[in-house]
Symmetry: C2
């Protein structure tokens, strides 16, 4: 048999649906005996209020989607997963405290039957230029908040990841020893790369370095990065430090250094952006940055909820990124 409805429960208990509803919600007084009978019967019959119907009537408490701009479980995946999950964990907590649930949305294939997607808004993590995920939600009129500005969409509400400052922090740190600093970013056009590259250009100009930068396709992950960075280091033998914001690339760089017989940090100092497992598990451990992702997630949720409700949104700045210096850039051993 299918699940019993409130009407069936009410009939069985010899009361009206109204009374059943009140018995559970407590919004009106119900005789304790009656209530007890209803509850017992509900237990026995396995009655549970249908959440969909409940929501339709009471309107409140919707759900928001968390979407990674990249496929969840794809090649470059494992390391992005850390970033995404750290955000997801915080976002889920914040969302719940705002009467909202957080839905994980798998990679969207265009044309897929996604109208079933019952969310009131979406958070997109680090969208790239012309990101199809954004189009998808726009077409449906679903409000979107980005984590990390969306390139080419200056008006899209976004939580600032402060990538310029982050880059500055890393570059200044790596530049301490006076070595020439190289940069490895991603081929995809995400705002964090764009800002980082700009900061790098400025950094080089200030110091009078010739820039040495390259871009790698994220999808190749650590493997491809190892190969590419090795070639890069061969071409630029005078580089003494490397800034690789993508942790998978930093891991690849580590391998490239080993392959070339370069010791880290003695011969090559290295730093990355996201302070996740990859940075901490690497050997030597990688210098990284605390991006305050918990705050980022919280702000994204709040902005999104405000947006959904049509209220004004107040984007307060996230706490300043903080350098987490580790062995991979330790100057004393260099």
């Amino acid at each position: 048999m299918s699940k019993p409805t409130i009407v069936q429960l009410a009939q069985a208990a010899g009361v009206s649906p109204t009374t059943v509803s009140h018995a559970f919600s407590g919004r009106r007084y119900v005789d304790p005996d009656t209530k007890a009978r209803i509850v017992a019967l509900a237990q026995e019959m396995g009655y549970r209020a249908n959440p969909t119907a409940r929501r339709l009537r009471s309107g409140g408490g919707g759900s928001v989607a968390l979407v990674s701009s990249m496929p969840f479980a794809v090649a470059a995946g494992p390391s992005r997963l850390g970033f995404l999950m750290e955000i997801a964990a915080s976002a889920a907590v914040t969302a719940l405290s705002r009467n909202t649930t957080l839905c994980l949305v798998p990679p969207l294939e265009r044309g897929a039957q996604l109208d079933v997607l019952d969310v009131d808004g979406a958070i997109v993590v680090e969208p790239a230029l012309d990101d199809s995920v954004l189009d998808f939600f726009f077409e449906r009129g679903v409000p979107v908040v980005a984590i990390g500005r969306a390139p080419g969409r200056p008006n899209l509400p976004a939580v600032d990841l402060r990538s310029t400052e982050t880059a500055r922090l890393l570059l200044d740190h790596l530049g301490e020893a006076g070595q020439r600093v190289g940069l490895i970013t991603g081929l995809q056009r995400r705002n964090s790369y764009i800002e980082t590259e700009a900061a790098y250009a400025a950094f080089c100009a200030e110091r009078g370095f010739a820039p040495a930068a390259m871009r790698i396709d994220e999808r190749g992950g650590e493997e491809e990065a190892a190969v590419a960075v090795e070639a890069f280091l061969r071409q630029n033998p005078d580089i003494g430090a490397l800034c690789a914001p993508v942790d998978a690339f930093a891991a690849g760089a580590l391998r490239a250094a080993t392959a070339l017989g370069l010791a880290v940090p003695a011969d090559l100092r290295l730093a990355t952006r996201y302070d996740g497992m990859r940075a901490r598990l690497a050997s030597p451990q990688l210098t990284a940055v605390n991006l305050h992702l918990d705050q980022v997630a919280e702000q994204a949720i709040d902005m999104l909820i405000a947006l959904i409700e049509g209220k004004a949104l107040s984007p307060e700045p996230i706490a300043q990124p903080q350098l987490v210096a580790r062995a991979s850039s330790d100057r004393s051993s260099g």
Copy 2:
């Protein structure tokens, strides 16, 4: 103002709500001109069908929660996150194809105002004995499916992780060289530990080994494991191989071995269970097991949906776990 409803759109277009519905769903013929007018107007007014109402009527799927038995972002976190997220990614895909959305639920604090938690069912990952997360859902009559059997709850629907076979696979592999094999499991009473310990006992009996096993508190993570395993290895110097199903513990064991001057795999062969980033990033890379988590996730979703709909559930067995042999247990270098 607030979002327009189908009625408002119908009025504006001078047709009935029925016609609007048909215009979008295509379930009945609508004059092309009329349809075009409706679509254009919808675009202009920003009309989007309310998914909640739609689902209520058409009986579509709701949403299910994915819950880790452990706090998301807690100490032992990063490595468990991998396991959880691999399941989450697959589950989200499967759920969507079943007209259901997957909600990530943060760690549940008892007594928190969770009435807002609007899910039709829940998947709990590797519940422990007396897991409060399970109680929470039971109290609310929310159907639950466990990934990995729930200790002490033989009747709870669960997807079998085939831990006995997994353990057997690892132990037989590690025992190949004839060395004595030690076992490190977790203090918490999860089914996978229980089965693994039992398999280990049988394994030792068969081979005539004296068992050498210890349990470590998961919450201590890699650090605590490193300390504990070092002591353990000191006490059992004749151990030539170590089975540490928790990847964080295996990583700790690796450090312990290094501290003791033992080479892996030459002096100590090592294997873990979950073939995640941690196993692959370790040096040497860790032998692990392919648990077919994608299948596991899919089955969990399907079982849960069946349960929600009151249908009979058919728990088909997951594909057999497969050993992924890596350097950490390579016999040729031992």
